[in-house]
């Protein structure tokens, strides 16, 4: 890095000199000016800069130089399609939830994965007025050790959707809209999920545990 540049930069050579210089003839540090420009404050001049031809010229040149970086940074880069699904399918393989409902019919056996039961229960819960978020759990107790080994310390090893034959226990965590009667919402969830699982999966006995653990205001959703 050289000393101060002699004249305000006005061509390509002088921008190179500017980028090699530690400071301008007025004493302003080039790094500080570049930081000001790159952080989007090129036109926010301080008292010295308002009267300094060196600083003003340098800020203008550096702003032009940095513009392609700002433009590129501002461009949207969406996630590739299907990325969330790809991640979740790999995680489900790690958890390896192998519990199924089991129904024997004249024509054979019907199995429905516990996570499907959880997803149906969750979607039903989400359709209940007042429910803003509903999450369904699908890790069975007997698989908790496996899940723990593959993932992390499980807080509720007794939890989840336990499915055995045509009996199911479903855990739902829900967040409700502020102002809604929480107890009533929870009761409605239980009733509708039980009906839904009986009708769509043919489960005979369904227990639905509802935990309301968050309340969302309109401001949260803004």
């Amino acid at each position: 890095m050289t000393g101060p540049v002699g004249e305000p930069p006005d061509d390509r050579q002088s921008i190179r000199e500017l980028l090699d210089a530690a400071s301008l003839p007025c004493g302003a540090e080039v790094d500080a000016l570049f930081e000001q420009v790159a952080d989007g404050h090129a036109t926010d001049l301080d008292e010295h800069q308002r009267d300094c031809v060196h600083c003003q010229a340098a800020l203008t040149e550096l702003a032009l130089l940095w513009a392609p970086v700002s433009d590129t940074a501002a461009a949207a880069v969406p996630a590739p399609a299907g990325m969330t699904a790809a991640v979740m399918s790999q995680i489900r393989v790690l958890v390896r939830d192998v519990w199924y409902t089991l129904q024997t019919t004249d024509m054979g056996v019907i199995r429905i994965a516990a996570r499907i039961v959880a997803a149906l229960a969750r979607d039903t819960a989400r359709s209940v007025p007042g429910v803003r978020v509903a999450l369904g759990r699908s890790t069975h107790s007997q698989l908790a050790a496996l899940a723990e080994k593959a993932t992390f310390a499980h807080r509720h090893p007794q939890a989840a959707v336990g499915v055995l034959g045509r009996t199911a226990v479903v855990d739902l965590a829900v967040a409700v809209q502020y102002g809604e009667p929480v107890h009533e919402v929870a009761r409605t969830i239980q009733q509708q999920v039980i009906t839904s699982l009986r009708d769509s999966i043919g489960l005979q006995t369904v227990n639905v545990n509802v935990t309301v653990d968050d309340v969302i205001t309109d401001e949260d959703q803004a």
């Binding site: 390509r12 921008i15 190179r16 980028l19 080039v30 790094d31 570049f34 930081e35 790159a38 040149e61 032009l64 130089l65 513009a67 392609p68 970086v69 700002s70 433009d71 590129t72 940074a73 461009a75 949207a76 880069v77 969406p78 996630a79 590739p80 990325m83 969330t84 991640v87 979740m88 790999q90 995680i91 489900r92 996570r115 959880a118 997803a119 979607d123 989400r126 803003r132 978020v133 999450l135 369904g136 759990r137 890790t139 899940a147 593959a150 993932t151 992390f152 310390a153 499980h154 807080r155 509720h156 939890a159 989840a160 965590a173 967040a175 653990d213 968050d214 969302i216 959703q221 803004a222």
Partner: protein, 183 residues
């Protein structure tokens, strides 16, 4: 189904720890664009970036118990993505540089000639970024592209604010010299 309302990352992390995969799925949806974007800007290759982003989410899920609740999930994810990008690069794999701008994200209102120039500029920025040493590239991407503060960049890179600032000073000068022709 109604659109998902805003619940905090902290809430979702806590539920994911309780075994609700749905909660983690919402976190992945929420942060997948960021993870991919940062990985792409750090390694310059679409396929590597996709791998890095996906692996980062799986690693984050496996280490969810180590996540400190007083810190932000996104900062933690930035940390994992940045580290995995560095690992990928230093493993010596050849990375083809691609546009930082996705075709589908191009401004549809822009004239073709303008778009071409924008793409060329983005190419130039991409090339200039790729030529930076990794620590400088990381701080530029995190601060100037992702908008993290110096303190947040320092947390992600496990460095200090003066070190971040020093890397940025050098990186800007190097980028500036490479981008002269676009003035």
């Amino acid at each position: 189904m109604r659109p998902e309302p805003a619940v905090s990352d902290g809430y979702l992390v806590a539920r994911a720890r309780d075994g609700y995969l749905d909660a983690y799925e919402m976190l992945v949806q929420r942060h997948s664009a960021m993870a991919y974007r940062v990985a792409l800007r750090l390694c310059g290759d679409h396929h590597d970036a996709q791998d890095i982003a996906q692996e980062s989410f799986i690693v984050a899920w496996q280490r969810l118990d180590r996540f400190r609740e007083d810190s932000s999930f996104s900062t933690w994810l930035y940390q994992i993505v940045t580290r995995r990008a560095l690992n990928k690069i230093t493993r010596g794999r050849v990375t083809d540089l691609v546009d930082l701008l996705d075709e589908s994200a191009a401004d549809p209102g822009a004239e073709p000639a303008v778009q071409t120039e924008q793409n060329l500029k983005a190419d130039a920025v991409s090339d200039a970024l790729a030529a930076l040493p990794f620590p400088q590239r990381a701080v530029v991407v995190l601060h100037h592209f992702e908008g993290l503060s110096y303190a947040e960049v320092a947390e992600v890179t496990r460095s200090s604010v003066p070190a971040v600032r020093s890397h940025l000073y050098r990186a800007r000068r190097t980028l500036g010299k490479r981008l002269e022709e676009w003035r």
